[in-house]
Amino acid sequence: MFWLNFIFKFIKTLHSKEDPHNIAMGFALGSIIGLAPFFTLQNVFVFILILILNVSIGAAFFAILFFGCFAYLFDPQFHSLGYFLLVKIDSLKPIWTYLYNIPIAPLSKFYNTLVMGSLAVSLVAFFPIYLAFKQLVKVYQSKMAAKVDQFKIMQLIKGNKLFQLYQKIKLQ
């Protein structure tokens, strides 16, 4: 139900004339958390950014759900990439050793191949996801939103209490 609410909220966000930049940024930030295998320090940091920055929370949660669903399928690839970055590239080893020896950094679990691989992929994919999603939102809002708005289900979604609360927070 929790995730369903956020999906509804995301759909409403798409129809709310909100700036496509905010929606796409929320979506891109959510992708970082979604691709990560478990909750790490960097995910906490990204989560706080999503909450305090003026980005779409609905889009962020939708991205967490969306990327979280299929990131699991790419675990072997993330593991291979993480192993390559942590073990095979000798020039990076001093950086990893330094991070391993300073406080707080090890809490990010960067030394785990899966965390490193997924983080690398999410960082590389951050801007492409942002730009692509921004374009998608623009196209949707200009050409499809009005038609979809007239569907009966949209009226139900708009009446959702969580959506109204979200709208209040957003207006602050």
Binding site: P37, F38, I48, L51, I52, L53, N54, Y72, D75, P76, F78, H79, S80, G82, Y83, L86, V87, K93, W96, T97, Y98, Y100, N101, I102, P103, I104, A105, P106, L107, K109, Y111, N112, T113, L114, V115, G117, I169, K170, Q172
Partner: protein, 625 residues
Amino acid sequence: MRNRAILILLAFLVIIGLVCFLWGNTFITWAIENTLQAITGAKAEIEGFRLNLFDMSVRINSVQIANPADTWKNIIDTKKISFNLAPGPLFEGKTVIDEIVLEELTFNTKRRTDGKLKKKAKPEKAAKQQSQLQKTIAAMPILKPETITDNLDLKKLTDSYQFKTDLSAARIEDDFSVHEEKWDANLEDLNQIQTELESLDQKIAQLKKPNNLPELKKQLDLVEEVRGSAQQLKTRVKTYDERFKEDNQALEAMIKSLKNEAEADYQELLALAKLPDFSNINYAEILLGETILNTSTTIINAVDNLQKSLPVKVENPPKAKPARGEGQNIVFSGRKTYPRFLIKKVAISGKGTPDSSMDGFYAKGALTGITSEPPVYGLPLTAAVFAQASNQAFLQLDGKINHVAPVFNDRITLKLKDLPLPQVDLGKNEHLPSKILAGKADIEAVAQMTPDFIKLELLITAANLKGDFTGKKEPDDLIAAIIRDTLANLNQVTLNCQLERINDQLELKISSNLNRMISDGLKEAVGEKVTGFTNELKAKVDAKLDEGQKTLEAAKQRYQQKVDAKLNEVRTKLNTEERELEAKQKELEARKKELEREQQIKVEANKKELEEKIQKELERLKDKL
């Protein structure tokens, strides 16, 4: 920026803080219990866990870890544990404890509840190996007293039995006949050789004293020709000789193989008589194999888990195949690096409460270097524990697990002295006592681990054992009865076990003086009749063997003499021919020299005559001039 979101975040943090404050200890207790359960495979219970966040100190009221081999007892039961967490490494996500003090440590205490884990462990490689090994553990033979008399009729038993010794002897005799036929054909060939030798002899006889050199040359050529033929015949004889030796060896082996058949006959007749060969049964393996295997496998699994928890040093760790969602942790060294988990020292001490069942109990020891990353810590894990009970039984555990370098040779030794056996559960074997009433045992166990193998050696010496079979059904066969009699009162028993795992293959060896005791007991119980029967049976089988061997030896001797005689005859003839030929050749060579000398004289005389003639002619011409 969303100011209200910041407030919500702060509120959220406060809630998290409150949850940690109120239920943090419960969460940590749950996590530690799960970790211990994963390592031991049995229930672990922690009571009264208190973490003080201000001085980072931890106090635990009691820890109980169930014995995975006997889940109604605790392998370790300790109270009042206290230690401090190093705050610095916590910021790096690392748990470092300088020293843990374990007070009131006791071993093997009874549990109020079963310590078996509800969730069964996944069947692993070790479990498969164990089940395979279990199948190889010997099974108990059955010997019914009432059937003994019927079965001890040697005539009845042997009349209806087809002796393998006879069958094999007949088969070998057939083989002999085939060989004989072959050698008869070979003898024909040898006769042919003899005929050829005679013709050569005639040729040699034709050689007469030559009168001139061309005649001599002709005769020498004939000698060479005869020599060539003789050489060919010699080669043929040699080949036959070698073949004959090979055949003889093969036949010899066939005759010897009769002994195995006779042994098989003996064992089969024993089986028909339902009389096992008492001295060849490993009773200790039958009685205790399963219990020992289960205990040893539990130890091997624990050692396996320990080795997995203590990874060795690798410069470039090989790529692992982790489960989905887990990944592989890569360790980076450094001057200030701490392992992710480290307990520098665990000090153990314990003393039983006066006037209680534990009165007189005393334990002392230390474990050092307990860490998840030995190469990062740089020091081995060591263990030295000594415990003594009120009845003077003591336990001594010493071990060193050094995984600082990739190649390791770990060793753990455990000594238990004067262990009261009434506490020991013997398992569910129907032949073992339901409980031991009295007796003490000394146990020495050594576990050795290298990257390639794990080896467990166990030596148990028990004395003055009294077994109680109350509740067990009465034995219905003689062996079970003898075992029961033997185990009811034992003065001294030794048991030596060895479990080895090399390349995922488990091998178990058990030996004990129990085997001899039960075997002697059986021999004594079944008395002279069985001994006489087995002796008679053995004599009968031996007679069959002797008869078969003699017949075959005679057959072999018969044709061997025939072939040997022929071969010797041909060889002698050949040698005579060679000698004659040699003499003839020498004679011809002497004659050759003689003829050459005569020729030389003749030439000299002719030369002189011609010279004289020329001289005379010259003088005549001179006079004329």
